[in-house]
Amino acid sequence: MKRKVTSKVISQKEISPAIFDLWLETDLAAEARAGQFIGVFPKDKSTLLPRPISICKVREDGKALRIVYRIAGQGTREFSGLREGDEVQIMGPLGNGFPAEAGLGKKVFLMGGGIGIPPMVELAKEIKKQSDDNTVIQSIMGYRDADTFLSEELGKYGEVFIATEDGSVGTKGNVMTAIREKGLEAEVIFACGPMPMLRAIKSYAQEKGIPAYISLEEHMACGVGACLGCVVKTREVDHHSHVNNARICTDGPVFEAGDVEI
């Protein structure tokens, strides 16, 4: 059940320039899964709306959540000043999350681009936990430069391939360049990142005839499906809107790529 609660900051550190790693003590964690997000509320009353931030990790005891976010504006700048013991209002867990079970027994690509990388950590953990001998996780992560945050951590769950725009680490280019250069193959894809990357993944998955579960983002207001601010065009008429408009916050943020017009 979604709730708005007060959580307590356990720790926060800047893991890369303007990218912050924040652990929050909250019992919302017990219900959270990979690919879901929380709304984080700024204290400054001039910035009212919750900031949708994806869950990077759920602590095993279900009592803490980790988010990794980039400073993108006034709200996230405020969050970057949070210190151990501070309180912050959050709402969640929001959205549907990744169907981790779709990776079971399969060769899996986890593809992340920039600030789309954090949800891949919890997803890798969830797939690994339920995996069998046939499950192979390969993470392909795209960065701007040598600040390859979270890549070491993803290495715990499988092989990691890095692409950087400036070529300073791994393949020069993007995640698609890395797949082709390394000759990688998969039976199912999970991805989160900028729209051009998701479009490329959608067409790659269609070409290969494999499912791709992609996590979308859009300007949001309510975060709970009421305001209809964050919609995406869908191939089929969806159950809620009846006008081919799914709500990213509640029907998503994860969609099978073939189901959405992006």
Binding site: M1, K2, R3, K4, V5, T6, F41, K45, S46, T47, L48, L49, P50, Q89, M91, E218, H219, M220, A221, C222, G223, V224, G225, A226, C227, L228, G229, C230, V231, V232, H240, S241, H242, V243, N244, N245, T250
Partner: protein
């Protein structure tokens, strides 16, 4: 934390108040609009609360005076392209474009959902032509559970219809008198603040036979991303809501209350009970919480509890003793 519980579950004494005797020392929160009695004055602003399903996870819908639904048209409307929402200082802009599933789905899904609750149903009606509005109003006349119709002639985000009826007194007069011929339920015209003189619009609606007025709809605004040199909203303009617009809304409610005799459902930036009481004192018979539902999903019930606490503290016996009392 107050916010961690689902508010209202244990407040059974309020769920059956509408016809029963009021207990001594318990403020009488009942209010009446166009002959319809509501158990309390706290409602939801159209478009911010869907048909209640989403916020039903956070608040007990039985606590609300009414749920005012998202606008519904005769056929499904796809709405505007994204981005549809943007934050601005102390508020937000939206240009949803009245996306809705159409009256057929609404009658089959949303009305039966709301009928499960002990709250009144107010349906917001939108259209592109007078005939569109008539079609919806006639369909709703089949449904006695719908207490009141709020006629949306003030959405700033759709190009045809809607606002075109709400910015010219003559057009507002015509659509109001036309809908009065077809509506079984009382009609409440929702006024736009994007006019030179809102009292002129209020008078036109009253002269045409409107039963009530609701105000204000959002104020047209714009936001520009200076780094991309682009409009933030795909629609370029959007309706501004949130606490930043409250003083404008209170002023307009006061002006309209002075100009006409019709009951008023007041709204615009209500975040707290204190805000709501300002609207009541300005002349509103009831209030709607809008954008603040997004900021605090428990806002409606907190506003209600705050009004009740105020009435107890200042020994106000009945809500009508607050309406229009400002001097």
């Amino acid at each position: 934390m107050a916010e961690e519980r689902k508010l209202g579950i244990s407040r059974e004494n309020h769920t059956k108040s509408s016809s029963g005797e009021q207990k001594k020392g318990v403020p009488d929160l009942r209010t009446t609009i166009a002959g319809v009695e509501f158990k309390n004055p706290v409602m939801t602003a159209s478009g911010t609360f869907g048909s209640g399903m989403e916020y039903g996870e956070f608040v007990d819908l039985n606590r609300l005076g009414a749920v005012v639904t998202k606008g519904v048209a005769n056929v499904p409307w796809p709405g505007n392209p994204t981005p549809r929402v943007a934050e601005v200082y102390g508020g937000m802009l939206n240009a949803i474009g009245l996306q809705n599933p159409g009256i057929d789905v609404f009658m089959e899904r949303d009305i039966p959902f709301l009928k499960q609750y002990d709250t009144k149903i107010i349906v917001n009606v939108c259209g592109k032509s007078v005939q569109d509005y008539i079609d919806v109003v006639e369909r709703l006349s089949e449904e006695p559970a719908v207490a009141l119709l709020e006629i949306n002639v003030s959405c700033p985000n759709v190009k045809e219809g809607a606002i075109a009826f709400g910015q010219k007194a003559e057009a507002l007069y015509n659509i109001t008198s036309e809908l009065k011929k077809h509506a079984k339920q009382p009609i409440m015209m929702k006024l736009s603040p994007n006019v030179t003189d809102i009292t002129e619009m209020a008078r036109a609606a009253e002269a045409a036979g409107a039963d009530a007025l609701s105000l204000i709809n959002t104020i047209t605004g714009m936001k520009i991303d200076i780094y991309k040199r682009k409009f933030v909203l795909a629609n370029k303009t959007g309706g501004m809501s949130g606490p930043a617009i409250k003083p404008i809304a209170v002023r307009m409610v006061y002006q309209v209350a002075q100009a006409v005799k019709l009951p008023i459902l007041g709204m615009g930036g209500i975040a707290t009970a204190e805000d709501a009481i300002e609207f009541l004192m300005a002349g509103a018979s009831a209030v709607s919480v809008g954008a603040m539902n997004f900021v605090n999903p428990y806002a409606t019930v907190e506003v209600l509890e705050g009004i009740e606490a105020y009435m107890k503290k200042y020994q106000v016996e009945k809500l009508s003793d607050l309406i229009g009392v400002v001097e």
